[in-house]
Symmetry: C2
DNA sequence: CGCTTTCATCGTAGGATGACGATGGTCTCC
DNA sequence: GGAGACCATCGTCATCCTACGATGAAAGCG
């Protein structure tokens, strides 16, 4: 079972409804993940650099490494980003599908 | 100084930048306000009914009146909704500008 | 004036968040 | 194998969130 880097996942995500209880939960989860300036900044960073970044994120933020790692975890659990181990480093990248999903849900308000 | 119901406020809001630290803060604040299913539901309710709704919101949600009131407060503080006193009741309505602003900020990711 | 309705606020309890330093695990390189 | 780099996780503390019932304030009605 190989993990394809930054490849597609949750293929059916785009097909889910934009309204209803489930959509509310989904939107709330995604919005909550974005509900912190540091995490907004991280998402922007990862969107900017099409390529995956690593612990450079720590250098960009005025936060301790452990704190940044926690924010990354929150974003990862919300499905907005993805981390891939690359030797001693970990490369993070946007999950375009989740971001698109967020945009659709917000636009649907 | 009369409070015009559901009228325009924060007129310059649309003109603010979509990126930068201030935009990050703004997006984080708005996203955080949406970061709870009940609040997403409330926003949807208020968007649906163009007219302002009142404590009908309480009837629509499976939550105690005080809890709903707190969620309304959170949304109000984020600027997403607005409440206007109408006799013994309070009518809430969407702040279209803030909602538009949120859409722009999310779309700008 | 009292009574009711409608909301907001207070007080509170349990759980979640955000921040940090310290620790530990896993590669790479020597 | 050992050293160092990189990152996640643990432990901890302070703060915030979420939920509720109880209490209060304001407006309308008899």
């Amino acid at each position: 079972m190989k993990a394809t880097s930054c490849g597609p996942t949750n293929v059916e995500r785009d097909l889910r409804p934009v309204e209803g209880d489930e959509a509310d939960e989904e939107l709330a989860t995604l919005a909550k993940a974005l509900g912190h300036p540091a995490r907004v900044q991280i998402v922007r960073l990862l969107v900017r650099r099409t390529s995956c970044v690593c612990g450079d994120i720590v250098d960009e933020l005025p936060l301790a490494q452990s704190t940044v790692s926690q924010h990354l975890k929150v974003l990862k659990e919300a499905g907005l980003i993805k981390g891939e181990v690359d030797g001693p480093r970990v490369c993070y990248c946007i999950e375009p599908r989740a971001l698109r999903r967020l945009k659709v849900l917000v636009a649907g308000l």
